[in-house]
């Protein structure tokens, strides 16, 4: 039996959430952004009314204001979006247990087996849209396809509030005329390399000799070719979010920092990352440091440790070594990211006979207890009292 996969994509999710909880914002151009005073002033989401006026995601607040002077600017409130996201997932779970959250505002649903309960796929999609709108006030676009890829492509074809079906036989006339960049999995880099092969549309890619793609791009070349032909066998996996692969935290700094000042920022990020790893009962083996300079030059370096850890002391020490080895001391930094990767669940903790780590473990454990009870920001290092530390940019 052919599978029936749905992809539900919330329209202008962050902006819609604000419109849903504040009726005075409905029907008005709403722009959700970070705080421009700390250089987080980028448009994260814009309502369709604002998009109609030309506001785009990723614009700076200043550009957005120039494009649409009457727009209402709202500061992002992440906990609200998470709350709405989990409410929407709960509604989806009323239709099928096979729900795979794909991002905060998108999820795949495998409804192959639920057609006796809820009717044909289009009816299911209508019911789903209706319930989400009634219960949360948010509209969404739904794509229906025989696999995840086509469902995802279908949802992108009609926005906002769309409902599109994409069958295998629709691929040549609906997908192939689109520019290759529109294909799921093709970013600016692949677009550039594919254009050099004179592949401009998805159809060009689908009809390109797969052998040549394999030789040039390896396995990914074949995967892209299959995608362009609408072939995708990946299952809807409800557990993708349960297996965390890495835990990371990043921050755009309020001004450009030099190497010396970065130390405290890295310590703070390490505290947050290790706290989250311990909450998830995970231990990781690889520390990833990500840096961006004022000219948006990016550097990402990773170091694998000899032993698994979730201690801030280990993470920050490794990150500082990476910084020292890979980033000149007089070079400014605009953004820092730190992640613990190569994660596995921690079943047990092996205490040591002579190690100072035992002390660190108990300190970090005690800090966790304080954080759990009174909030993440109630306990911090003395180093964070200095100017330029988290108190100044959060």
């Amino acid at each position: 039996m052919e599978r029936v996969i749905l992809l539900a994509d919330m329209n202008s999710f962050f902006a819609s959430v604000h419109q849903a909880i504040d009726p005075s914002l409905r029907g008005k151009p709403v722009v959700v952004s970070g705080d421009p005073s700390t250089r987080h002033g980028v448009v994260l989401s814009a309502s369709y009314e604002a998009k109609a006026k030309g506001v785009k995601t990723g614009m700076t607040v200043r550009e957005a204001r120039a494009t649409c002077p009457e727009a209402i600017f709202v500061k992002s409130q992440y906990h609200l979006y998470l709350e709405f996201s989990s409410r929407i997932l709960r509604i989806m779970h009323n239709f099928t247990p096979f729900v795979e959250p794909f991002s905060i505002d998108e999820a795949f649903l495998d409804v192959t087996g639920c057609q006796k309960l809820f009717g044909p796929p289009i009816t299911i999609a209508r019911k789903l849209k209706e319930r989400i709108r009634q219960e949360t006030g948010i509209s969404c676009s739904v794509g229906i396809g025989p696999n995840k890829l086509l469902a995802k492509m279908a949802a992108g074809l009609e926005k906002p509030d769309g409902l599109t079906v994409l069958r295998h036989e629709d691929v040549p006339h609906r997908l192939w005329p689109l520019p290759v960049r529109e294909l799921f999995g093709v970013g600016p880099r692949y677009e550039y390399h594919l254009n050099r092969l004179n592949i401009r549309t998805i159809g060009d890619l689908a009809n390109f000799p797969v052998e040549l793609l394999k030789r040039k791009f390896g396995v990914k070349g074949e995967v892209l070719w299959l995608c362009a032909n609408g072939i995708d066998a990946s299952p809807v996996d409800p557990n993708t979010l349960k297996q965390t692969k890495s835990i990371g935290q990043q921050i755009t700094l309020p001004r450009d920092y030099r190497n010396g000042e970065l130390k405290t920022v890295i310590l703070e990020l390490a505290d947050l990352v290790s706290y989250r790893a311990r909450l998830k009962k995970c231990i990781g083996k690889t520390v990833v440091l990500f840096l961006k300079d004022p000219h948006f030059y990016c550097l990402c370096r990773r170091q694998t440790l000899p032993e698994y850890t979730n201690l801030a002391a280990d993470i920050s020490r490794t990150a500082l070594e990476l910084l020292k080895r890979n980033w000149p001391a007089n070079w400014s930094v605009r953004m820092v990211g730190l992640a613990l990767a190569n994660l596995v669940p921690q079943y047990a903790d092996q205490p040591a006979l002579f190690d100072e780590k035992e002390k660190i473990k108990s300190i970090e454990k005690a800090c966790d207890l304080v954080r759990n009870k009174y909030g993440k920001e109630t306990i911090f290092r003395a180093a964070s009292l200095k100017e330029g530390c988290w108190k100044y940019y959060t």
Binding site: P306, P345, Y347, A348, P351, L353, F354
Partner: protein, 371 residues
């Protein structure tokens, strides 16, 4: 230089020195080995500047002399020769080492002898002497408990603690600790911390019947037998106070058949060996008046339950979880039929000791389940 010796004697000596030759070095000559022909013997010597090994084998020396050749090529070449007489000579004109065997002849390029860094060998008066087989039996009980060098360099050695009439030999990776108490007939008062990889090499090349003398001085130690002379830098880190972690009393003391417990744990290790379980190789022990009950659970494989009956008990009950490997490894190296296991609850260390020998202790810290 011109010598004749047997391939069967030359090959093991060269393979042994190759283990010391650094694989990556900025000083190319360190890849070489210093070959010297002395009266009645042939010596081969290597160093990585941290340690130096010199091995001598009997040879028919017609002309004395020295040269340096790349150790790996010499060893590999000699290893591939048949077991016959091999002639080594130095061609002064071409500056090459000429190896002839039967009707074949090989030439290896050499380095000037002066370029080879001298590695000082200590004066050979031994402070402590021991028979090879005995030393090897010590190492067998200790080496596995040492921390790998890349993980905890500070614990990657074996600690020799001479005190009064006892010599305590200790190895730990901080999760477990192996302690061997032997007699110290010389009444030395001293301590040395020897890198484990050096002892591993000694374990390989030491002959059972040879007497080895150990001397040390200024952070260096030399292990000497008629066959080899191994000099190494000692570890400079301070060995922790191991005596304070050994519990003097125990909550529960039981006696079990070693092989029975070992077999059960070998089976348990199967249930905790799946790759995703790397970190959770946990075996749960529950002990009551009759038996040790062993459980191991893997969400991917299944579960195991075993009972090992006690030979003797001090009475009482106890429960603790351990890393299976840490429980199993000491059982593999112990020899007595019955062993004593002291348990100290879910947080206190468990201590094995051998019933008959009595001088070998192995301490293992339990793991704390993450709730």
């Amino acid at each position: 230089m011109l010598i004749k010796c047997q391939q069967s004697e030359l090959s093991p000596a060269l393979s042994a020195v190759c283990k010391i030759v650094p694989t990556r070095t900025t000083i190319p000559v360190l890849k070489g080995c210093l070959c010297s022909a002395e009266k009645g013997k042939f010596c081969v010597e290597v160093t990585d500047l941290e340690s130096g090994l010199k091995i001598q084998i009997p040879a028919e020396t017609e002309k004395e002399g020295k040269t340096v050749v790349e150790a790996r090529y010499l060893a590999e070449l000699i290893r591939r020769l048949p077991d016959t007489e091999v002639t080594l000579s130095f061609d002064e004109e071409a500056q090459q080492l000429v190896i002839s065997c039967g009707r074949s002849c090989y030439r290896l390029n050499t380095w000037p002898v002066e370029d080879y860094p001298p590695f000082s060998l200590l004066a050979s008066e031994g402070k402590y002497k021991i028979v090879g087989s005995k030393f090897k039996s010590f190492l067998k009980r200790l080496l596995f408990a040492v921390a790998p060098q890349d993980i905890r360099p500070g614990y990657s050695g074996v600690y020799f603690h001479f005190k009064g009439n006892v010599l305590n030999i200790v190895a730990t990776d901080t999760y477990r600790l192996a302690l061997l108490e032997v007699e110290n007939e010389e009444f030395l008062e001293d301590e040395i911390f020897v890198p484990a990889h050096v002892l591993g090499e000694i374990n390989r090349i030491l002959n059972d019947e040879d007497v080895m003398s150990i001397s040390w001085n200024n952070g260096m130690a030399t292990f000497q037998t008629p066959y080899f002379n191994f000099t190494t830098r000692l570890l400079e880190t301070k060995f922790p106070n191991y005596q304070q972690v050994i519990p003097l009393t125990s909550q529960l003391q039981v006696k079990v058949n070693r092989l029975e417990l070992m077999a059960a744990l070998e089976r348990a290790s199967l249930f905790v060996s799946s790759p995703d379980h790397k970190q959770s190789s946990i075996t749960q022990l529950v002990v009551d008046e009759q038996s040790i009950y062993i459980t191991a659970v893997s969400s991917h494989i299944g579960s195991l339950y075993e009972e090992v009956s006690l030979l003797d008990t001090s009475g009482g009950k106890c429960e603790a979880a351990f890393n299976t490997r840490f429980l199993l490894e000491p059982l593999r190296v112990m020899e007595s039929e019955a062993i004593v296991l002291n348990l100290n609850g879910a947080d206190g260390p468990a201590v094995y000791h051998e019933e008959e020998v009595g001088s070998y202790f192995h301490l293992v810290l339990p793991v704390r389940p993450v709730s």
